[in-house]
């Protein structure tokens, strides 16, 4: 041991003192990262579940089927080239998410439009078959099948299920293996058995984001409603804003509590080490050396706590993802950058409080007082 006063020596040889503090910091980091990751999984789920909406915009006549031809004419005024306009009918069912059930669309498509969208959305290899004309049949993607625990032959909609209702049992006849969430059935069946009795339009453009922006502006205040992926994300962010603000307050309080607690611990431990500091100053170490050494110990302690917390977070969230989330096709990001960002104020404020404590302790430190006190 060539450097007995190196900062890590105290930490490693006084584990009964340092480990609880490292653990407290680590657990606080885990708590913050866990909460933020779980909250972040909500928009992540929305982005993933409705990810298909990036491929097109939806235009819905408001309460007036007669407006549809005019709506189509208006769409043709788009400065962004339109690749295809699809007439669809929709039925709804629920998917499960971390925040409960979310509505999902069963797209009633003609066989030509279905072929176009399969290609466009890259839905992947099909297990089973396509829905037959005018039949109560549906094709879904693997994620959806995992989420609803459905296999080929199972009922997607049923007269006995009020939340996923259809007058006939709509069975899954095919599953695409791609990652996207999507469901489609036959246009005629959906049109005949599901409300509203209005065709909707899906518009696929060469530059979808540019078209979406134009359409939202162009139809603002009109008799059509435009649904785009960006609007969906904005609405999600709006609905989460208050939750995130509350979360920031909770995290702030947690940071304050942990900071005060660790600051007090460090102050107590410094008090218990006055003899050591007094002795070292008496035999020729400067006050600034001792303050730097104590600061380095505090920084190392806080750093270890943070690293432990991040490691715990990644481990616990990964385990939760694998065991709880993935089997239900729920979304959770174990290495969420935002969550890690939220954990940073914790070690920084604990370190600041520790350094302040150390500075106050050493500002007027007199070794003779300690040596004369004759305490062990």
């Amino acid at each position: 041991m060539r450097k007995p006063l190196a900062p890590h020596v105290f930490l490693l040889r006084n584990l009964s003192r340092t480990l609880p503090m490292v653990l407290v910091i680590g657990l606080a980091v885990l708590l913050v990262a866990g909460i933020v990751s779980l909250v972040n999984s909500i928009p992540l789920s929305v982005r993933s579940i409705y990810g298909y909406s990036k491929a097109f915009a939806a235009a819905l006549p408001r309460n007036d089927p007669a407006y549809l031809p005019e709506l189509e004419r208006e769409l043709q005024k788009s400065p962004v080239p339109i690749e295809r306009v699809l007439r669809i009918r929709v039925a709804f069912f629920n998917v499960r998410s971390i925040v409960g059930k979310l509505p999902f669309v069963l797209h009633g498509l003609s066989s030509e439009d279905a072929a176009f969208l399969r290609e466009r959305l890259a839905l992947g290899r099909l297990t089973g078959r396509l829905p037959s004309r005018n039949a109560p049949e549906a094709v879904i993607t693997r994620r959806l099948a995992t989420n609803l625990r459905l296999d080929i032959g199972d009922a997607l909609l049923s007269p006995a299920d009020p939340q996923n209702y259809s007058p006939q049992v709509v069975r899954v006849v095919g599953i695409h293996e791609g990652d996207l969430w999507f469901a489609y059935g036959d246009f005629d069946y959906v049109a005949r058995h599901h409300l509203p009795p209005v065709d909707d339009l899906l518009i696929v453009a060469k530059d979808q984001r540019a078209f979406d922006r134009w359409a939202v502006e162009h139809f603002r205040g009109s008799r059509a409603r435009i649904l785009t992926h960006e609007e969906l994300l904005r609405e999600t962010d709006d609905s989460l804003r208050v939750l995130l603000q509350l979360l920031s307050v909770v995290i702030g309080l947690l940071v304050v509590v942990v900071t005060v607690m660790i600051g007090l611990f460090i102050n107590i431990y410094l008090g218990q080490r006055l003899t050591e500091f007094g002795l070292l100053q008496a035999i020729g170490y400067t006050r600034s050396f001792l303050a730097r050494r104590a600061s380095a110990e505090a920084a190392l302690l806080v750093g270890m706590g943070w690293v432990l917390g991040v490691a715990l977070s990644v481990g616990v969230l990964w385990a939760a993802k694998v065991t709880l989330m993935d089997p239900r096709a729920y979304y959770l990001e174990p290495l969420d950058g935002t969550a890690l960002g939220y954990t940073l104020p914790l070690p920084l404020s604990v370190l600041a409080a520790s350094l302040l404590t150390i500075q106050l302790r050493f500002r007027r430190f007199d070794p003779v007082v300690v040596i004369e006190r004759r305490v062990a």
């Binding site: 041991m1 020596v9 003779v368």
Partner: protein, 215 residues
């Protein structure tokens, strides 16, 4: 080497001036062994803190090799204490989480070969077998010997010992003083209230009410 000129140290005790040292004049040179004798509260320890630069006098000046301590900043003063002086206190202060050898090494200020030198010193002080033990595994006398090794590590020009035998039994106390006198590399200034342990001193000073008298 160390010269105290008209040095006084006054404490303020609830508005009342108390002289810990009063107009002390003293010169310490070479490898002198100076004993400072006096009852409790006579100012022995204060004199030692003044001579070693741990405390500033209220009046007068203490010079080490011509340099006045009060004119030195914290860093310079610490460097002198670390490189030129050695300290042994009444209580064998050691750092609890370090071994005997590591405790000795905390006194090292001169480069890389400290471990060998510290181990050699502990060997010579009879602690060769116990150099890797922690302080709580050593007896009071053994701890004080570790403190002596720490104080001697840099070959100090002046060794300050403040009642080094007070917490030890008489036999161990005599042994500690013998080791200090035998292994010192410069002057030894030993403060005590026990006249018996100063038999080997070159000079004995007596302190009463902060004043120093030749014994």
């Amino acid at each position: 080497m160390i010269v105290a000129s008209d040095v006084s140290l006054v404490y303020n005790d609830h508005g009342r001036e108390v002289f810990a040292c009063r107009e002390v004049n003293l010169t310490i040179s070479g490898k002198e062994f100076i004993g400072v004798l006096g009852p409790s509260g006579s100012g022995k320890s204060s004199l030692l803190y003044l001579l070693s630069g741990l405390k500033d006098p209220t009046d007068g000046a203490v010079r080490y090799r011509g340099v006045e301590f009060q004119a030195c900043d914290d860093r310079r003063r610490a460097a002198i204490r670390r490189k030129e002086f050695g300290f042994v206190f009444q209580y064998p202060y050691l750092i609890g989480f370090l071994s005997a050898l590591e405790n000795v090494l905390t006194g090292w200020a001169n480069g890389a070969e400290g471990v060998e030198r510290a181990a050699d010193l502990l060997e010579r002080l009879g602690l060769g077998e116990k150099m890797h033990r922690r302080p709580d595994e050593l007896s009071g006398g053994e701890r004080q010997r570790v403190c002596i090794a720490r104080a001697l590590l840099n070959g100090p020009k002046a060794l300050f010992a403040d009642e080094p035998t007070a917490s030890l039994d008489p036999k161990t106390g005599e042994e500690v003083v013998r080791l200090l006198a035998e292994h010192r590399t410069g002057a030894l200034i030993l403060v005590t209230h026990d006249r018996r342990i100063l038999s080997g001193a070159d000079r004995v000073l007596r302190m009463e009410d902060g004043r120093v008298f030749d014994d």
